[in-house]
């Protein structure tokens, strides 16, 4: 693991307005993730981990604080710049896979390259990622013809096809059975180790969290504990 920070968060706060009430989702989060790290964020519902995920992915603007992703200060980025961040700097894996049902597995992966304005054909080394994920033979199938585990592996491939600096995974095993959960978690670990892919995974499952190098626990919008 490199000592170069890829994510730097300092005194991050997020306040939502829900009707007439202010909801304090994040109350001063400090976090540093090194390049090549596999960090898991664990915490109960409402602890603020999804809000943190959305802010780190450039899907949401924080209220205050400093968030640097690969050297870019999220607070200073325009909407268009945050959109660009999602194209190449971060890749997302969601609990519900979020594949486009009308496209094949291969098209679901290559559309990420089209959106990023990159050549449709992935780089040669991506073939190895597909081998690791074990989905090379399922590329022409539509999502409905794939199992949950296969769909999540396609989603991981899509998240990695533009070679992002950070892979953000939000409860990636939340919809999977025990066997497929273990497969996906091992794959994330393998991708991290073999390709030095920085991974930040959010989960409420302590067993899943144990697959990371480091685990931080969130509670009431703050990081309450950090374990190596």
């Amino acid at each position: 693991m490199s000592s170069e920070p890829i994510i730097e968060v300092s005194d991050l706060r997020k306040i939502y307005r829900a009707g007439d009430v202010d909801v304090y989702a994040l109350r001063g989060v400090d976090l540093t993730v090194q390049r090549g790290d596999f960090l898991t964020v664990i915490g109960p519902s409402g602890s603020g981990k999804s809000t943190l995920f959305h802010i780190l992915g450039g899907l949401m603007k924080p209220t205050s604080g400093i968030v640097k992703i690969a050297g870019q200060d999220i607070m200073r980025l325009s909407d268009a710049q945050r959109t660009n961040l999602r194209k190449v700097t971060v890749g997302f894996v969601f609990q519900k896979y979020n594949l486009l049902p009308i496209l094949s597995a291969e098209e679901n992966i290559t559309i990420a390259r089209t959106i990023a304005g990159l050549p449709q054909r992935p780089p040669a080394e991506f073939k190895r990622v597909l081998e690791v994920l074990g989905i090379s033979h399922r590329m022409h199938h539509k999502p409905r013809a794939l199992s949950g585990g296969e769909q999540q592996r396609v989603a991981i491939a899509r998240a990695l096809v533009n070679q992002p600096e950070i892979l953000l995974a939000d409860e990636p095993t939340g919809n999977l059975d025990t066997e497929n959960s273990a497969i996906v978690l091992k794959l994330l670990r393998q991708l991290n180790e073999e390709f030095r892919q920085t991974v930040l995974m959010i989960t409420h499952n302590p067993e899943a969290a144990s697959f990371g190098h480091r685990t931080v626990t969130m509670r009431d919008g703050r990081i309450s504990e950090s374990l190596d």
């Binding site: 899907l59 959109t83 496209l103 959106i115």
Partner: protein, 364 residues
């Protein structure tokens, strides 16, 4: 890949896409059929007028080429006209409306045959008695009329003696004397056709006649034929424009509804695209491309449907209506569909483009 996504989106919901295409197609077809009917009816009338074989037509004062007022001319006008220099034949006729746009035309058979070269008979032959009637092939086909059948028109029974080729004078032709008698127009006619001597200067003849008969509309047959156009029918142009406006509005509403529900249904998918870094402009482009594809397919369907309506009209009501194909209007129909569709897509597309990705991703 984006085009593939656009096509995949439309193919994924085939019934709705098909309904959208059909609805736009009907709108375009309605427009093409209306214009085709306007032109077809006028062309048919021009063809029948041109088929008479006359050089000049004289009409009652205060009428235009496209209006008829029964029989206000004195029949003796023909006797006067035939004495004029350069006029070889003057044949009067009586035109009487029998409901809708149908008319019955009375002619002096012998003189008219001399003027026009006679009718071409598909079956049967010339009128043998004053109560005989000639019907043209389209009228016969539409009403399933055969030789020897009896037709009741203007409270009188006519016996069909001949079925004539279309394109000469009228669809229903009877004896002028009997028609005058039945309609209380004894000694009166609706208009006079003139055949000139070879080498006669038609315009000079018309000028001379106008001098002698001030107030009488007198036209060369060339003028008559060219007069039967959409531009010369009062209100028809405006009517067509109103139909085009309504077509564009219906196209707008169809596409608006279709794309609005499509965008709602695809909220989550739009969120996925946004999480992958799709910009609002790209989302806008995807939705607009879908709409363009939908409207172009609809326009093609509309053009194909206009062939179908023409076939139906030719088969079922060839005498009452004539529709021609209007290829010069295909592009106009497509543009109207496209404009309506694009306007109808703007709001749903803007809504899709401005969706918050987090809200979109949590949409069930």
């Amino acid at each position: 890949m984006i085009n593939k996504l656009v096509i995949a989106n439309l193919m994924h919901r085939p019934i709705r896409s098909l309904l959208g295409i059909v609805a736009i197609g009907v709108v375009v077809c309605m427009m093409l059929t209306l214009v085709g009917l306007s032109r077809g009816m006028l062309q048919g009338a021009a063809e029948r007028a041109g088929g008479v074989g006359a050089d000049v037509v004289l009409r009652p004062p205060g009428t235009s080429l496209l209006s008829l007022s029964s029989a206000p001319l004195n029949q003796r006008m023909t006797e006067f006209l035939v004495t004029q220099e350069g006029v070889r034949l003057a044949v009067g006729q009586v035109v009487f409306p029998i409901g809708g746009i149908d008319t019955i035309t009375g002619i002096p058979y012998k003189e008219f045959s001399e003027l026009s070269g006679g009718f071409t008979f598909r079956s049967g032959g010339p009128m043998q008695s004053p109560d005989d009637i000639l019907v043209d092939e389209y009228y016969a086909r539409q009403r399933k009329i055969k030789i020897g059948d009896t037709l009741t028109l203007i409270n009188h029974e006519w016996k069909v003696s001949g079925i004539i080729a279309s394109g000469k004078l009228a669809r229903l032709v009877v004896s002028m004397d009997r028609l005058q008698e039945l309609t209380g127009n004894e000694g009166k006619i609706s208009q006079v056709f003139l055949r000139t001597e070879p080498g006669t200067d038609i315009q000079a003849l018309i000028a001379r006649l106008k001098e002698k008969l001030p107030g009488y509309p007198i036209y060369s047959m060339e003028e008559v034929v060219s007069f039967f156009s959409v531009e010369n029918v009062p209100g028809l142009d405006a009517f067509i424009n109103v139909i085009i406006g309504i077509s564009a509005l219906v196209g707008f509403l169809v596409v608006f509804l279709s794309m609005y529900t499509a965008v709602l249904e695809r909220t989550r998918e739009i969120g996925i695209l946004k999480s992958l870094g799709a910009s609002p402009t790209l989302i806008l482009r995807i939705i607009l491309r879908e709409s363009v594809l939908l409207s172009l397919c609809g326009a093609a369907a509309g053009i194909a449907l206009s062939f179908a309506t023409r076939w139906i009209i030719q088969t079922l009501v060839p005498a009452s209506l004539t529709q021609v194909l209007v290829p010069d209007w295909w592009a106009i129909g497509a543009v109207v569909a496209l404009v309506g569709a694009l306007l109808g897509t703007l709001y749903p597309a803007w809504r899709a483009a401005s969706q918050d990705p987090i809200e979109a991703l949590s949409y069930e």
